[in-house]
């Protein structure tokens, strides 16, 4: 039942020793990157002085802004010749955040994904259909490599095209899938539409749900619709992507692999660590990254450590489902979107007024994004056609940037809350 028994059940003293040894190496490597070299020099940091977990607080925090400001190579701790892969986060403001991997990085990441899937029972006899977008997004290739490492038959189906997905599931007797939860709900409705019962007419037995926070209720619903076990997966591209934390068969919190990451939960305001059990922002440090080590990365995700041992026997601590964000990032159909992206695009379009509101809805199983946009008073020429052209242009421009087709409603000038102060830009009506 363990992929790597020794590591997965390591006791806390040995784990701490292992972490500190790996942290020492990580700091040495990080010091070779332009960003951390500058950071360490400014802080007059002696990497050898970091010896216990309590010393972590002396290390600098790293944010997405740091990554963006140092785009593309400022975090690189090795020569570019050593790199074999890059990935990029799906939603960003302006420049994407780019993560580079060496062969060692890909091997370590692949191993973590194999560990995750093996933990919940995937074996070489399984047929694994990966319904995530392949490409820059980490959810596609990450899981693909992990499943191959276990030896399962991998169907690299990619995202979308529901009827073909179902055809593949039936033709090749798929047993395990990797899927975005909102898409799982949609897929179940397509099953119903074509008169196929996933419980009776397929061999599906497990699903890995990722790329989108979801509630326990939604998981149970998906399990019920498909008749399989669904496991929550957590990760972010800055920390490799999926494989970072994963549910075990107990389905009570996600084990975050502490041999690969140092985990802290901090108060997002004071930036001080909070004790296990208390909610805060997840902050993680890579321990095996060669190409691009990242120290104390602020994930902006709110969660808590579930105190106490897990009945599964694994000693790596568990984090709870993500409760929310400390920033205003929205996740829609697995795509990360920041309101500022929408704002920037809108302000480039002539005829758009000053204020806008973003509304997120869930209609049936589908999430939708509506943007209400004020029209500039002077732009109005009395012509409906002109307004309709403006509306279509906004739809197209936003779609090219956020990769989701929004619904755009034009509204009268000064009819929306003013942009000054803390205007509520996002209204999330989605209920799980």
């Amino acid at each position: 039942m363990y992929w790597e028994k020794e590591i997965e059940t390591i006791d806390s003293i040995d784990l701490s020793k292992l972490q500190m040894a790996r942290l020492g190496k990580t700091l040495k490597r990080a010091g070779k990157s332009p960003h951390y070299a500058k950071c360490f020099a400014e802080m007059d940091l002696d990497a050898d002085g970091i010896r216990t977990p309590a010393d972590m607080e002396r290390l600098p925090l790293t944010t997405k802004e740091d990554l963006r400001e140092n785009w593309p190579y400022g975090f690189l701790a090795c020569s570019r010749d050593e790199l074999i892969r890059m990935h990029s986060s799906s939603g960003t403001t302006g420049r994407a955040t780019v993560i580079f991997h060496t062969a060692g990085d890909i091997a370590a990441w692949t191993n973590l994904l194999a560990r995750c899937m093996y933990m919940v029972g995937m074996r070489r006899s399984d047929v694994f259909q990966n319904m995530m977008t392949y490409g820059l997004f980490t959810g596609g290739l990450g899981f693909h490599y992990g499943a191959e490492k276990i030896g399962a038959l991998v169907i690299p189906a990619g995202a979308g095209n529901s009827k073909r997905q179902i055809q593949l599931i039936r033709d090749f007797e798929t047993t395990a899938i990797h899927i975005i939860p909102s898409y799982a709900l949609h897929l179940s409705s397509v099953f119903a539409e074509i008169g196929v019962d996933p419980r009776r007419d397929t061999r599906l037995r497990m699903a890995f749900l990722g790329a989108e926070p979801h509630s326990e209720k939604m998981r149970r619903k998906i399990e019920d619709l498909f008749g399989f076990k669904a496991f929550n997966s957590y990760g972010l591209s800055e920390m490799n992507g999926p494989g970072m934390a994963f549910e075990c068969p107990e389905q009570n919190g996600m084990h975050i692999w502490e041999d690969n990451y140092i985990v802290e939960i901090i108060d997002p305001v004071t930036l001080k660590p909070v004790p296990d059990g208390e909610e805060g922002e997840l902050v993680t440090t890579t321990l095996l990254r060669e190409g691009m080590p990242i120290l104390r990365y602020r994930t902006k995700d709110l969660t808590r450590i579930i105190p106490g041992p897990c009945p599964c026997g694994r000693t790596h601590r568990r984090i709870e489902r993500i409760k929310g964000r400390t920033d205003d990032m929205m996740i829609l159909k697995g795509v990360n979107i920041f309101p500022i992206q929408i704002e920037k695009k809108l302000m480039e379009i002539p005829g758009v007024g000053t204020n806008f509101v973003i509304i997120l809805d869930r209609e049936g199983y589908n999430d939708s994004l509506t943007v209400k946009v004020e029209v500039q008073r002077a732009f109005f020429g009395g012509d409906l056609k002109q307004l309709e052209t403006l509306r279509r242009r906004i739809v197209e421009e936003l779609k090219s940037d956020i990769l989701i087709t929004p619904r755009v409603d034009l509204v009268e000038p000064d009819s929306l809350p003013k942009s000054e102060g803390k205007a509520k830009r996002v209204i999330d009506n989605r209920k799980n």
């Binding site: 109005f380 009395g382 012509d383 409906l384 307004l387 309709e388 509306r391 009268e412 009819s415």
Partner: protein, 151 residues
């Protein structure tokens, strides 16, 4: 002669037209004709009023998004074929009608047809040459209820 049409951008929701008519009623502005075109969640209210400049100002002051545009208010006989003669004439000269609406001036005798066209000067000259009477805003405002005989 050129006349003016007031267009108001309005969301397609209860109370928007009422807000417009409230302002005009208060200003004692008379509405001669109206059309509304909608595109799902928003639309444009077009009005022919007796004092477009004052109406535009009052609506703008009330916070509305207003545009004044030039239209032709053409007097046509209120009888079969009356409108056809006008449209055939515009067609013959390849003048495109973007929007049009009409109102009866004198039952069975005269009507006014408001057209928004792509080549307004050309259309105006064309109509004049062919004996059509066009009304300017002043003439439109002079139309008093029950005093149609002036025209």
């Amino acid at each position: 002669m050129i006349s003016y049409q007031i267009s108001i951008f309005a969301e397609n929701k209860p109370g928007r037209l009422a807000a417009v008519t409230r302002v005009l009623a208060k200003e004692k502005i008379n509405i001669r004709a109206t059309t509304i075109s909608t595109s799902d969640t928003f639309g444009v209210i077009n009005l022919i009023v007796d004092d477009p400049a004052r109406a535009g100002e009052a609506l703008t002051n009330a916070g509305m998004t207003v545009s004044l545009s030039r239209v032709l208010a053409v007097v046509i006989p209120d009888q079969p074929g009356g409108l056809d003669r006008l449209t055939q004439l515009l067609l013959a000269e390849n003048v495109n009608i973007n929007n049009a609406y009409g109102f009866v001036l004198e039952g069975h005798r005269k009507a006014v047809f408001v057209v928004s066209v792509d080549q307004i000067e050309k259309a105006e000259a064309l109509l004049e040459k062919n004996g059509f009477q066009t009304l300017d805003s002043e003439a439109l405002s002079a139309i008093e209820p029950f005093h149609y005989m002036k025209y």
